[in-house]
């Protein structure tokens, strides 16, 4: 768990950097805060998905797949071993697969559902645990947002986020959400930001829970089908040759019998005509 925490902290640090750099013109502080919350939530979402479904190596990704780098830039696999980004300043940049792997926001990993030789029900506890982890991280993040809102400075502050039932998380405040900067008393913005985090976190959790339910159902059916198909395939391979060959031979012979009207020499006219 320690390593996982490190990753999270590391990720959050990046998030702060990322949210600090590009600011869209004419956006209010509240809107910027929401943007940063969304960005972090999205990152959590991608991370969660990679835990469940896995993330292939860039080399194995098909053309058309999208990855994110540490700065939340999106990278599109435009060709074999060619990742491109439409972000301003990166248009001419091409990353190779190995570069993409190195810069990927979410590391390559095997997903829970990629676990072989297990039935779905055996995976459910892990999926449930992952979902619980997502919930914790969402709650911790929102607690971090709440604490950030109270900050008056322009620099991030080290804080410890709390959530019931979850391990405390040491993190830095989100500078975009330092809504109390300059002694501003924008109560509405502060309320919005806090509520926004809770709402999108809750929505995301509900959606992911529903998706996990659907996924489990699908995976269960799929694994069942595979097992049946495998057995049936085997059965057919074994079954086909003796049965079909026997049938073929029988067809041949029955077809031949059909041509034998009877075993006498003069009975093509069967049935006999009694009238003669």
């Amino acid at each position: 768990m320690k390593s996982l925490r490190n990753i999270i902290i590391f990720s959050f640090a990046w998030a702060l950097l990322a949210t600090a750099s590009p600011a869209r013109a004419q956006q209010s502080d509240g809107e910027l805060c929401q943007e940063q919350i969304k960005s972090i939530m999205a990152r959590e979402h991608r991370f969660f998905r990679s835990v469940i479904f896995g993330l292939k190596k860039a080399e194995d990704a098909k053309v058309g797949e999208v990855r994110y780098d540490h700065a939340d830039n999106t990278w599109y696999k435009a060709a074999e071993n060619e990742w491109r980004c439409a972000e301003s300043g990166f248009e001419a940049t091409t990353w190779s697969d190995s570069m993409m792997d190195g810069q990927s926001q979410v590391p390559q990993r095997k997903g829970l559902l990629e676990t072989k030789r297990m039935i779905t029900s055996e995976l459910v506890p892990y999926i449930g645990q992952s979902l619980r982890a997502l919930q914790c991280r969402t709650d911790l993040l929102c607690d971090g947002v709440r604490q950030s809102i109270e900050q008056k400075g322009d620099s991030p502050v080290n804080i410890t986020a709390h959530a019931h039932g979850c391990i405390d998380l040491n993190m830095q405040t989100l500078v975009s959400c330092h809504l109390a900067r300059g002694n501003r008393e924008e109560i509405t913005e502060r309320g919005d930001a806090e509520l926004f985090c809770e709402q999108i976190g809750k929505q995301m959790l509900e959606q992911e829970a529903a998706i996990m339910e659907l996924t489990v159902e699908y995976d269960s059916a799929y694994r069942s089908m595979l097992q049946l198909a495998g057995n049936f395939d085997l059965f057919l391979q074994e079954f086909r040759s003796p049965i079909v060959n026997s049938l073929r031979q029988m067809v041949n012979m029955v077809g031949s019998f059909n041509r034998i009207p009877c075993f006498l020499s003069s009975c093509d006219g069967s049935p006999p005509n009694d009238s003669l």
């Binding site: 058309g64 439409a86 595979l226 059965f235 079954f239 067809v251 012979m253 077809g255 009975c267």
Partner: protein, 1009 residues
């Protein structure tokens, strides 16, 4: 009551039936008493038939070949001397020592009769058919003497049935009526002295005259004027002898006198009536308890001038059929009425033919006859019990229960395999039906032709050729099992409807054979199946493309706003002269408005290359359609020719019907076995049915001919093999053709900078808009890169198997065959009908009547009466020892099926033994061969996954770079959207597909997703 009666009879009948050898169908609800009566007769008849036959392996045949005496004809030198011919070896040496057939085996018999020196026609009342009844009051014949009017001999009234004159009356008339007067002529001769004396100058005869109808002729005229005649005596015309002397015109004859031409002063005597007392007897067959095995002293009357000849070498005519076998005298038990009841086999003593008495072979069913495929079967370990029969196995319940815990899956996973095959001709060790040396009865066998049997050979030949002719080839379609091609098992092709009656010549409606299914519209189904299977399956692959979203109206409004801004700022009343950056902006905005509409052209992209795919699909379907059409046309042509064949087959069936009637009814008047009897050659001449008589070969060794009246009609035809269209390796489309489909990602252009500022603004910012990029297009590239459809050679059509039309033959062959068989049937019918007369239906005294020759019952030829007696006394139909005898086999005296190692079945009909000039003695019914072509069919091979992946990836990467990345475009030429390009990128993501069907070759037992 009616029902009770039938039920009671059935209750008796059923246990008597020997197994299922003969099925009896009885009308359970007869509508009248006569119908009940009819049904009872049918039951009786069936019972009789059911008890006909059986085998008695160890009883020799010879004692059961009738011994005949008392009638003339040829005896058998050795009934088994010609054993492979199925007929007796005729005695052709010895016999009578004089006459035209001296020392050729012809035997005469004790007889009495009438012989006359006269000849029919002279006198006139002596007819060619001289008399119609033997005699009156002589030789034990009790009837009256009848004279033919205008005879004055006495009774001319027939009290019976049209007999006008009896043989003794004829004899009396010949002697009494047919005379001439004989005079003595004297001539008065005077000598030189003048003395005259009457000198006998000779006899002078009058012409012959019928004393009853003609006045006595005048006395003959003297030869000279000095002569005179004096009546001397009455003379017999034919013998030129005095009436009342030793040489009457007609007299009785006995024994050899009746065949000799006895001398007289006049013509020789020639018998015109003979009566024999024929007898036949043989040992009764033990397994026929009531075997009626003899007829002793059966009167036989033969009318007409005696003519001695050998029917084998001379064609007999109607006048030769002038004998009556008078087996209808009351009280003598010579008739054959009871034969159907007496000649039945007692199956408690005889064999059914299924077992072999006295041997170790047990009755079937017996374990000895089981096909044991696995003698080492172990009930404790083997899952399958394979020894039920050759065809199927049962699961061993013990193992399934105790070892496999009743899990049927294991049984299904390890099925037993069986093999079906037809058995070859077998030997004794294999107790199955087969052919053997059992020869068909044939009257055309002769000593000279050794074991040739003309009629049997002809019948077998024409049966064989007809079988070939009427066995047109079938089409057999071998199709793959549904699971092997991954098809929809619910496809109508695999769940066909049952066939219904069809009279359409359309081959689509002809029943053909597909595996086990025979049904309509097969060719149509095949084509439909292929079309469905070979339709290109398309899989849509999204190719995201960024499309600027904007309302043309809005952009026009923006342009107008800038125009107004320009006019206000410059106090103009229009903006036509607007130039510079404002003018450019207005123009660009209007250009946007115009061009945004043009993005709708994207809708047309898909259809362009879909049309190309449809063209390809059309090529595929056309190829299949052409194949089908070609097949159909060819088959229709062939099928139409079968219609003619069908009509021809009706003719053939008629002929077969006659033959069957002859074989089973006409020549089987009761349960009898005619094998090893002596041929009755005169039977071949009745109705002139046997072509080319007196020859016996029927041109069987000549090339086939149909029209030659002296030959049996024959033909040769070709047997076409069945066509086997083997599509079992057919593989339909695997995978799918992945087709790029443009998926527009519509993003609004950033419009918030486009509103004009205040007209009075000192330094207004006038945005510079890049031109809209051209509408992205991929159709030309897609079409270029779509895989080519290469249609290889189609599978063979049925013309490569079948001829254009079915072989046929001149219908005259069956016309003639029918004619020959019908006349043959009538000839034998005549023979047996004359012997099956009911004495009660024959008026006493008329038993030996022969009103006219060749008219019942006067239908027998005198020269082969022995042969006819042998035939009528034939043994019951129990197969005896030599019926299957195989000459030359010392270790196995019993006849056995032909040696399959000698007979090559490819030679049918061929020589039974190549060393002998014998024809094949087997009615061959060969099966059509099967003609296979190399397995052909259609398959659709889509490009491999990698190729297709590259095909799609190219377009995806291209569209990303062209529309979003705008690679190569100057920064100022890039559109500014409502969101950052980086935020648009996720919309370009295309998720990979999930493979539901495991890849071939991968372990299917894996549960990996």
């Amino acid at each position: 009551m009616r029902h009770l009666l039938i039920a009671a009879i059935l209750g008796v009948a059923v246990p008597l039936l020997p197994g299922k050898a003969l099925m009896l169908s009885v009308n359970p609800e007869p509508g009248s008493f006569s119908e009940v009566d009819s049904e009872i007769n049918r039951i009786k008849s069936d019972l009789g038939g059911a008890q006909c036959g059986g085998w008695d392996w160890f009883t020799p045949v010879s004692p059961h070949i009738p011994n005949v005496w008392g009638v003339p004809g040829h005896q058998a030198a050795d009934p088994l001397g010609h054993i492979r011919s199925g007929m007796a070896l005729r005695e052709e040496t010895g016999g009578v020592s004089d006459g035209p057939i001296a020392n050729k085996g012809f035997e005469w018999a004790p007889t009495w009769g009438f012989t006359s020196a006269c000849r029919p026609g002279w006198p006139g009342f002596y007819e060619v058919h001289p008399c119609q009844r033997p005699a009156g009051g002589i030789m034990g014949f009790a009837g009256p003497k009848i004279f033919k009017p205008p005879s004055l001999g006495g009774n001319t009234v027939d009290p019976f049935d049209g007999v006008s004159w009896t043989c003794d009356a004829l004899c009396e008339d010949l002697n009494r009526r047919w005379i001439y007067d004989q005079y003595k002529e004297y001539c008065t001769i005077c000598d030189s002295t003048g003395a005259c004396s009457d000198v006998f100058a000779g006899y002078r005869d009058t012409v012959c005259y019928d004393t009853d109808t003609q006045p006595p002729p005048p006395a003959p005229t003297p030869s000279a004027s000095n002569c005179y005649v004096v009546f001397f005596q009455y003379m017999e015309c034919c013998t030129r002898s005095p009436v009342g002397g030793a040489f009457p015109n007609c007299k009785m004859c006995a024994d050899d006198e009746c065949r000799q031409e006895l001398p007289s002063p006049g013509s020789t005597y020639k018998s015109y009536y003979r009566q024999f007392m024929g007898s036949c007897t043989r040992d009764p067959v033990a397994v026929v308890p009531d075997d009626d095995h003899e007829r002793l002293g059966v009167p036989v009357s033969c009318y007409g001038l005696y003519d001695e000849f050998d029917p084998k070498t001379r064609v007999t005519g109607p006048m030769d059929r002038h004998c009556v076998i008078a087996n209808t005298y009351p009280g003598r038990d010579h008739d054959f009425l009871e034969m159907p009841q007496t000649q039945v086999t007692d199956f408690s003593q005889a064999e059914y033919g299924q077992t072999l008495a006295g041997t170790d072979w047990p009755d079937p069913p017996d374990a000895s006859y089981q096909i044991v495929r696995d003698p080492a079967f172990d009930v404790n370990t083997d899952l399958w019990y394979p020894n039920i029969s050759g065809g199927f196995s049962l699961v061993n319940g013990k193992v399934l229960d105790e070892v496999l815990d009743n899990d049927i899956t294991y049984a299904l996973m390890a099925p037993d395999s069986t093999e079906f095959k037809s058995y070859p001709q077998l030997n004794e060790e294999q107790m199955f039906s087969s052919g053997a040396f059992m020869r068909a009865f044939d009257d055309s066998v002769s000593n000279d032709r050794w074991e040739r049997r003309t009629v049997a050979e002809w019948w077998q030949d024409i049966e064989f050729e007809s079988h070939k002719l009427f066995s047109p080839p079938l089409v057999r379609l071998l199709l793959p099992p549904t699971w092997s091609v991954g098809l929809d098992p619910l496809d109508p092709f695999f769940s066909p409807e049952l066939p219904g009656p069809s009279s359409s010549p359309d081959p689509r409606l002809e029943p053909l054979e597909v595996q086990l299914k025979v049904r309509d519209d097969l060719l149509g189904d095949v084509a439909g199946y292929m079309e469905r299977s070979l339709i290109l399956r398309l899989q849509e692959e999204a190719v995201p493309v960024l499309i600027p979203l904007g309302s043309p109206t809005e952009y026009r409004a923006k342009a107008h706003a800038w125009c107004v801004w320009y006019m206000q700022r410059n106090n103009m009343d229009n903006c036509d002269s607007a130039g510079g950056s404002v003018g450019d902006l207005i123009l660009r905005l209007e250009e946007y408005a115009d061009q945004l509409d043009s993005f709708r052209e994207l809708r047309g992209e898909l259809y362009r290359y879909q049309a190309k795919l449809l063209e390809d699909q059309n090529d595929i379907i056309s190829a299949i359609g052409n194949w089908l059409n070609t097949n159909m046309n060819q088959y229709m042509g062939y099928s139409n020719s079968l219609v003619f064949l069908s009509a021809l087959q009706d003719l053939w069936r008629n002929a077969q019907n006659v033959y069957r009637t002859y074989h089973d009814i006409t020549n089987l008047p009761w349960c009898m076995h005619q094998r090893y009897t002596t041929p009755i050659y005169s039977m071949l001449d009745d109705f002139g049915w046997f072509p080319g008589r007196p020859e016996l070969d029927g041109c069987m060794d000549d090339p086939p001919t149909i029209g030659d009246g002296n030959c049996f009609p024959r033909f040769e035809t070709e047997m076409i093999p069945d066509a086997v269209l083997d599509f079992s390796l057919l593989r339909t489309a695997t995978g799918a053709m992945r087709l790029p489909v443009l998926k527009p990602v519509q993003v609004s252009l950033a419009r918030f900078e486009l509103d004009p500022p205040n007209p009075t603004h000192p330094s207004p910012h006038i945005p510079e808009l890049p031109p809209l990029p051209p509408v992205p297009t991929i159709y030309a590239d897609v079409i270029d890169q779509l895989p080519d459809v290469v249609i290889e050679d189609p599978p063979p059509t049925i013309s490569s198997f079948f001829p254009a039309t079915a072989p046929t033959v001149d219908p005259a062959v069956y016309g003639r065959a029918f004619d020959i068989l019908m006349r043959m049937n009538n000839a034998y019918l005549k023979y047996w009908e004359s012997l099956k007369l009911d004495p009660a239906a024959v008026v006493d005294g008329t038993e030996e009547d022969c009103l006219f020759p060749d008219q019942q019952p006067c239908v027998h030829v005198e020269m082969d009466l022995i042969e006819r007696f042998v035939r009528m006394c034939s043994r019951p139909a129990v197969f005896l020892k030599e019926d299957f005898y195989k000459p030359g086999s010392t270790d196995d005296p019993l006849g056995r099926p032909i040696d399959q190692f000698i007979i090559d079945f490819d030679e049918c009909p061929g020589d039974e033994d190549p060393r002998l000039p014998q024809k094949w003695n087997w009615a061959c019914q060969p099966l059509n061969q099967q003609k296979f072509h190399t397995q052909r069919g259609w398959g659709l091979r889509t490009p491999d996954e990698k190729t297709q992946e590259e095909f799609i990836s190219g377009f995806r990467g291209q569209m990303f770079k062209e529309t979003l990345l705008r690679e190569g475009a100057a920064e100022e030429d890039k559109l500014r959207f409502f969101v950052d390009p980086d935020d648009i990128t996720p919309s370009f993501e295309t998720m990979g597909t999930t493979e539901l069907i495991p890849k071939a070759g991968s372990s299917s037992s894996s549960s990996s997703p």
